[in-house]
Every structure is written in structure tokens, then in C-alpha cells.
């Protein structure tokens, strides 16, 4: 029992120290996509938190989703969510993903993101600065601690 708890703690710690991210743009302006990409680069360097960009839903733990969800990509998005193994967190980056942003009255948008999948952290901004995305990520990792610690 004690060992089990201890083991769980270690796994939980490791999880928070090794977030592999998947980023997907679901029909925004690309601005958030670029800023999320910038998070990988030397100035922001997500790898110092152990993060890696995996681009493969089966390998990732954190889904960073930007863009107002278009009708065409909606079903794909659901599939990507299902393909990601538990435990996972979802970050909605940018006002498009949070509430459809400028595209709120468009005919081809079926978002916002939280209609399609549960979202854990909202990062407003259009686009948010890379620092803000990092802050969102750090917050999301704290979500983990609460959600999966027994």
C-alpha cells in the first residue's frame, strides 16, 4: 500500500516533468500556431521543462489546440483526442479556440473547442505571447497534480 502510493507519486512527478506536446491548428489564422512553434525554439525552449514536440497524438500528453474549429476538421479533432492516451491535458490557445474569436459568426465554424473536448486551461490572447503559452502549460501541469493524484 505504502509502496503503491510512493510509486504513484513518482509517476505523477515524472509526468509533470515530461510533458510531450502535440500542437494542432484547427482553423485559426496561424498566429497561435506560429507562437506555439516558437515555444520550441531557443528563446523559450520548452525542453527545459522536459517537453518535446511530438506531433503524434499517441505519444503526447499535452494537446495544445489553437484556432476556431472548422466543420471539416471537427471529426478529426475528436479522433485525435481519442488517440491520445490518458492522462492528458488540453490547452485552448488563443481567443479562437476559447470562444471562436473574430470568426464567431462564421458559417463554417463549429467550435469553440470546449464543445468538442474538455479543456483544462484557457490561454487568451490573439495570439498569446509564447511566455503566456508557457504559463498556460505550467498551469496545466498543476492540473495534473490535482486530477491524478490519489
Amino acid at each position: 500500500m505504502v509502496f503503491r502510493r510512493f510509486g504513484e507519486r513518482i509517476v505523477c512527478y515524472a509526468r509533470r516533468k515530461s510533458p510531450w506536446v502535440l500542437h494542432l491548428d484547427t482553423g485559426g489564422c496561424n498566429g497561435c500556431a506560429i507562437e506555439t512553434f516558437a515555444v520550441l525554439t531557443p528563446r523559450y525552449d520548452i525542453e527545459r521543462f522536459g517537453g518535446l514536440s511530438k506531433a503524434n497524438p499517441r505519444h503526447s500528453d499535452v494537446l495544445i489546440i489553437s484556432g476556431a474549429v472548422t466543420k471539416k476538421i471537427e471529426s478529426r479533432l475528436g479522433r485525435i483526442y481519442d488517440q491520445t492516451p490518458e492522462p492528458k491535458v488540453v490547452l485552448a490557445v488563443g481567443s479562437c479556440a476559447i470562444s471562436k474569436g473574430v470568426f464567431h459568426d462564421s458559417y463554417n465554424i463549429s467550435g469553440p473547442l470546449d464543445r468538442i473536448m474538455p479543456v483544462d486551461v484557457y490561454v487568451p490572447g490573439c495570439p498569446p505571447k509564447p511566455e503566456a503559452i508557457l504559463q498556460g502549460l505550467i498551469k496545466a501541469l498543476d492540473v495534473w497534480r490535482e486530477k491524478y493524484r490519489i
Binding site: 515524472a14 531557443p42 527545459r48 522536459g50 503524434n56 500528453d61
Partner: protein
């Protein structure tokens, strides 16, 4: 004996050391790219995390999807037991260098078979590329290993190691073979320019595309152990051998640094370019082999 096989320099040591080495590689690579990079124990954290994750079974997966990763890790671990690390080999018998070559090759093969068994198009393409690449690198690998073996006239890497410690570096006597061996290390552990089977930008994650959780952890770990084993084998066969831990650490870190440089500095080869490149080095190594045979 049990202690040697399980703890030092056996399984546990192998696993931890290879993870740390891989972590150092990642850290140094990050520094070369002007980033801070992960802590050097990052692969351990990754491994624990992956083990604690959900295992997804794709519908289209074929038989073997579950066990190939474990076979891969087992065979590279056994290969590790046959390799002299800092002058100690937990398992040693005559003829073990041949067995070692087979186990290393089988470790790679099992990884590629796991890609085939996942039936994912990316996985299949990745594995196919892996197999083609294998045709490329096994040739220089085997030829270059044969050079010190024939020169010393013994099959045990442990004895070659000791021989080198006393009589000087085989790397100096047979520079071509040493270079070919180094190139085949790069190809075997899929460090750039040979990271074609897992080419991120073309085929997502190659053979490991469908893998999650523990099985993915096994594939990644097999990869790291392979790197460590090949470095130690290289030291034992070419780079002066290692009688004590300090010498081993220094030599292996220098080798690791050069591998990191390759990882950072070059672009990916196409599969046909890989074949040309590796076979070129295979023939380069043959020069040394011919020399050895003629001299003897």
C-alpha cells in the same frame, strides 16, 4: 554472478547508464542549439511517465504488436551483458562477439518488426526504411568489427579490450575500420544523418507511430541502450580499451560528444544516399581487413 548480471555492471546499471548518457546527449545538443535543454536525468523521467501511461491497442494491429518491443529490449540487454564496460563483462564465453553482433542486429530487427505489426502506413514505411538502412549499415559494422578480431585472433571483446590496454589503440593501427565503425554507430542508433526510419517530418514517428505507454517506453529504452552498448563496444575494440571506470567515462563521453555533434550538424539523408554512404564506408573498412589478412 547474480549481482553482476542484475546490478553492476548488469541490467540495472545498463539501463540507468544508457538513460543518463542519452540525457547528456540531449543536454549537450540543446546547448549547441543555444538552449538550456532538459536536465540530464530527463530520459528517466520520460521512461517512468511512459510506463505510467495508458496502453492503447489499435484495431488493425497484428499479432506481435505487444511482444516485439519487449523482445527488442531483451536482446539489446543481453548484448549489453556481453560487452565489456569499464573492463568488466558479466557474461563471457568464447565466440561471444558473434553472438553480440546477432543480438544487436536482432534488437533492431525486433523494433522494425514491431513497426510492421502495427499495420499503420507510417509504421510500415518506417520499418521498411529501417530494414533497407540495416542492409546499409550491417556491412560496415561487421567488417569493421572483424578487423580487430582478426588482428588479435580472439573472439572475446573482453580480451581485445585487455589487449588494447596493454598494446595500444587499434583505432590508430586501423583508422579506416574505426571510422567505419563510428559511422555504423550513427546509423544503428538512427542519429542524424541516419534518422530516416523515424523521420518526423515525413512519416510522423516511423515504426513507433502506433505505440503508447509501456511498449513505447521499451522501444525508446532499447534505442538508448543500443547507443550505450555500441559506445562501450567501440571503446573495447578500437579506442584503447578501458581498464578502469575513469578511463571509460572519459573515452565514452568524448565519443558521445562527437555523436552529439553529428546529431546537431547534419541534415537527414535520403534512403538511397544512406546506402551509398554506408557502403562506401564498408569498403573503406575492407581496406583495413585486407591489410590485416595480408600482414598475418
Amino acid at each position: 554472478m547474480i549481482f553482476e548480471i542484475l546490478i553492476y555492471p548488469g541490467f540495472v546499471f545498463l539501463v540507468l547508464a544508457s538513460m543518463i548518457y542519452y540525457g547528456i546527449l540531449r543536454k549537450v545538443a540543446a546547448r549547441m542549439q543555444s538552449r538550456i535543454g532538459p536536465p540530464i536525468w530527463q530520459p528517466i523521467l520520460d521512461f517512468i511517465k511512459l510506463v505510467g501511461k495508458e496502453d492503447l491497442n489499435p484495431e488493425q494491429a497484428k499479432a506481435g504488436f505487444t511482444f516485439w518491443p519487449f523482445i527488442a529490449i531483451t536482446s539489446v540487454l543481453i548484448a549489453g551483458l556481453l560487452t565489456p564496460i569499464a573492463g568488466i563483462v558479466p557474461l563471457s564465453f568464447t565466440g561471444d562477439i558473434v553472438v553480440l553482433i546477432y543480438f544487436l542486429a536482432f534488437g533492431s530487427l525486433a523494433v522494425y518488426l514491431s513497426g510492421f505489426s502495427s499495420s499503420n502506413p507510417y509504421g510500415v514505411v518506417g520499418s521498411m526504411r529501417g530494414l533497407i538502412q540495416m542492409i546499409g549499415y550491417e556491412f560496415p559494422f561487421i567488417v569493421s568489427i572483424l578487423v580487430p578480431v582478426v588482428a588479435a585472433g580472439i573472439l572475446s571483446p573482453f580480451l581485445i579490450n585487455t589487449l588494447q590496454v596493454h598494446y595500444g589503440w587499434f583505432g590508430f593501427t586501423f583508422p579506416f575500420a574505426a571510422i567505419a565503425y563510428f559511422v555504423s554507430i550513427l546509423a544503428k542508433v538512427e542519429v542524424p544523418p541516419f534518422h530516416t526510419p523515424g523521420a518526423h517530418q515525413e512519416i510522423v514517428s516511423g515504426y513507433s507511430t502506433e505505440y503508447t505507454g509501456t511498449r513505447l517506453a521499451m522501444i525508446e529504452l532499447a534505442h538508448m541502450i543500443k547507443l550505450f552498448v555500441l559506445i562501450s563496444l567501440g571503446i573495447a575494440l578500437f579506442f584503447g580499451g578501458s581498464a578502469d571506470i575513469l578511463m571509460f567515462i572519459v573515452k565514452s563521453l568524448v565519443l558521445l560528444f562527437i555523436i552529439t555533434l553529428a546529431r546537431v550538424l547534419v541534415a537527414r539523408f535520403r534512403i538511397d544516399q544512406i546506402l551509398k554512404f554506408t557502403w562506401f564506408f564498408g569498403f573503406v573498412a575492407l581496406i583495413d581487413l585486407v591489410r590485416v589478412v595480408l600482414i598475418l
